[in-house]
Amino acid sequence: MSLLTVLFACMFYAATALLVFGLFFKIRSYARTPAPLKIPTTPAPTTKTGVVLRMTREVTLFESLFKSNKWIWLFGYMFHAALLLVVLRHLRYFTEPVWFWVDIVQPFGIYAGFAMVAGLGGLWARRFLVDRVRYISTPSDHLILALLVAIGITGLGMKFVAHTDIIAVKEFMLGLMVFDLQPLPADPVLLVHLTLVALLMTIFPISKLLHAPGIFFSPTRNQTDDPRDRRHISAWAAKLESGASSKSEA
């Protein structure tokens, strides 16, 4: 067993643990924090089904972003949709036998790699070209874009420029999942690609990538517009009523 294999195996176990536990604690804190007042941005759905539809449109079509700015929507949508295809395509490295629909996704996933990098390029360009967006950009905004672009380019590099031993990579990944370490090819492009992916997993729960789980907990989007029909009260607010079931002392 090479040192490299052990090193990367440890790196992925650590990254996965940080991703899973980090997200778990973040999501738990969102879920546990009360939403004491009804604050949906109207016009808001008046039923729970309506809320599910609204949220579905938000996460699949980026509805609000479409209303805001067509360029951000275009590049943002391009990047996210392409990323989804790319991730689905990568399932073939983690499953044996490969699910039939993952096979179908393959060609789309390959070219989505280009769309992903192009979308990121568009988003990145805005950070330099639009003075308002330049003003609000922090170094971490640029670094996350750089990280994603580098992951995309190294991935495309392995597909179109310098092939790696993909059979061995798959064996390594399958082995990783059952704690049976298999040798990882010492191909530099692959190693960079994998390292960057592990880094992305690591920073996920401590960065702005939290917008992914965050959207589902956003009260302006996930609340039902029914405050006159249903009393909505949080535990801490209900405490203010102890002993005040009759008139207040105003």
């Binding site: 007042l37 609000s64 003075d131 960065s207 302006t220 009260i233």
Partner: protein
């Protein structure tokens, strides 16, 4: 009026997004609250010694109480979708008035104290310590936000700057930095019962005077009852409706509607104010205290319905929060809300907006109008932000856009909407909401009104509009003051129920008619 100390923007016919001008409104700062003002609503009188630790502790407290704040602090990706959506940014070009940058004033401190990345790599993620200078920036820019929530419509994650502004103001108040205008009004409301500080007898006099005015003008004995026990409806309206022009014209309109429908109603000297500035400073306690006064009055008077007059943020608080705060509404299983539910008529929504109330009567054919009486007016309608984006009327989403327009169309012939993208949920704020309606903030008020003025000017030019119909007391006060800066006459501003008052046909009682004939002899 004194000459403005700032350059008034020119109307161009288009709503342009300016290039950023850093620090453009860094000098605009409202008067701070004095110690007695602060202490009257439960806050320290001046900046406390351990303000830094207290501010951070309060931020932690709010992060634990409000899911909105906790999620909004994490979820922003700096995409820029909100950067051109704020009327204060469009009017001033100060980048700190871009919603994301306004939030960042707090988010940078949140990161520093509550996130791993901010604790260990502050400059990388834009985290910073809460310095006294930054605290002053909070005070300036959290009072250059009208909490209108336009940005929240456009944010892909629904991040609502109003929630951040409210938290910012609450933290500032907690360490002893308050704003004179908002906090003084809260104190008056708690002490006297309304924002203007009108005592009961003054209110009674005013209402009697109005009854005489209406009788003189119409020959109809329309009543404006105060503290009438056992009335069916209690009307709660902004106290500006009792004294200010054009607000009072709408009050006359409500009275005429009640009279024409034959519904017994009353105002309350205890709850003579619908406005609730507790929301502006994010203070749940103050907001609840203000709302409880109305609940108490309803219980005292034994009314079956509660109707809210033309006031934007009051309607948001009433519609969205009263049920939570005081049990005025339905569906409460607790003793606290059940007490009121036994009394309220379940056939009507509680509370009900005056436009919903009038609209229902129109639908039932209980009101008669001569629309031609409004023919001297060509009308457009301004969706007030708190109604448009924070509340609803009727039983379908977007009813708050439909109902006021239907009321206007029922009483007037000439109505034109302003351009798409400036009305309904995309409406631009009047520029004076959220605790900014004070003369010391005149520059931000005038500049913040720019996008609304552009859209208004376009219908004035194209459709000869001469009346801007409103359903918000703050919008009315703001526009009457601000439109002259843009070359319009303040008489173009008025309420929806002012239009109703003009067109409504009241039956002149026979005896009154005879009396007036007799007195003519």
């Amino acid at each position: 009026m004194a000459a403005p100390q700032f350059e008034v923007p020119k109307l161009t016919g288009f709503i342009d997004v300016p290039s950023i001008k850093e620090g453009a409104t860094a000098h605009v700062k409202s008067f701070p609250a004095s110690a007695p003002i602060q202490e009257a609503i439960g806050f320290p009188g001046s900046l406390v010694e351990d303000w830094h630790d207290k501010a951070i502790a309060k931020m932690g407290d709010l992060l634990g109480r409000y899911r909105s704040l906790r999620v909004f602090m994490d979820a922003c990706v700096h995409c820029g979708a909100c950067t051109d959506k704020c009327h204060y940014y469009i009017g001033t070009a100060d980048p700190k008035n871009m919603p994301v940058a306004r939030q960042e004033l707090m988010r940078s401190v949140y990161r520093r104290h509550f996130t791993f990345a901010g604790k260990y790599f502050p400059s990388l993620v834009g985290a910073q310590d809460l310095t006294e200078e930054l605290l002053q920036d909070w005070y300036k820019y959290y009072y250059q936000c009208s909490e209108c929530r336009r940005c929240s419509v456009y944010c892909p994650y629904g991040i609502d700057t109003a929630e951040v502004t409210m938290a910012g103001r609450e933290i500032l108040d907690t360490v002893g930095i308050g704003q004179k205008y908002t906090n003084e009004i809260m104190g008056k409301l708690h002490r006297i019962g309304n924002n203007l500080g009108l005592p009961g007898p003054a209110l009674e006099d005013t209402l009697l005077g109005l009854e005489e005015d209406i009788f003189d003008a119409t020959g109809v004995p329309v009543k404006l009852p105060l503290d009438a026990e056992g009335a069916e409806v209690m009307l709660v309206t902004p106290s500006a409706d009792f004294f200010s022009e054009p607000h009072v014209e709408s009050l006359i309109g409500y009275a005429k509607v009640f009279h024409a429908a034959g519904i017994k109603w009353t105002l309350s000297s205890k709850a003579s104010e619908a406005g609730n500035f507790g929301m502006f400073i994010g203070s749940y306690d103050n907001m609840r205290r203000a709302a409880m006064r109305i609940r108490d009055a309803a219980l005292d008077l034994g009314v079956k319905r509660i109707v809210v007059g033309e006031c934007g943020h009051a309607w948001r608080v009433a519609y969205s929060f009263w049920n939570t705060l005081t049990g005025v509404g339905h569906g409460g299983e607790d003793a606290f809300s059940k007490q009121l539910q036994q009394q309220l008529d379940p056939n009507y929504p509680a509370p009900q907006h005056i436009c919903e109330f009038t609209y229902d009567l129109i639908q039932q054919g209980k009101l008669k109008f001569d629309k031609s009486l409004n023919d001297h007016r060509t009308i457009t309608f301004h969706d007030s932000c708190n109604v448009a984006r924070g509340s609803r009327m009727g039983d379908m989403p977007g009813g708050q856009f439909v109902i006021p327009r239907e009321v206007i169309k029922a009483v007037a012939n000439n109505f034109y909407d302003m351009q798409e993208g400036t009305i309904n949920e995309a409406t631009f704020c009047c520029g004076g909401g959220g605790g900014l309606l004070t003369d010391d903030l005149m520059e931000i008020r005038v500049k913040g009104a720019l996008p609304r003025m552009e859209a208004f000017n376009n219908v004035v030019q194209d459709k000869q509009v001469n009346f801007l119909a409103l359903i918000c007391a703050i919008c009315k006060a703001q526009f009457t003051k601000v439109v002259p800066y843009y070359g319009f006459d303040m008489s173009m501003i008025g309420g929806v129920h002012q239009l109703v008052a003009t067109a409504i046909l009241l039956e002149v009682p026979e005896e009154t008619a005879q009396e007036s004939v007799a007195s003519d002899d």
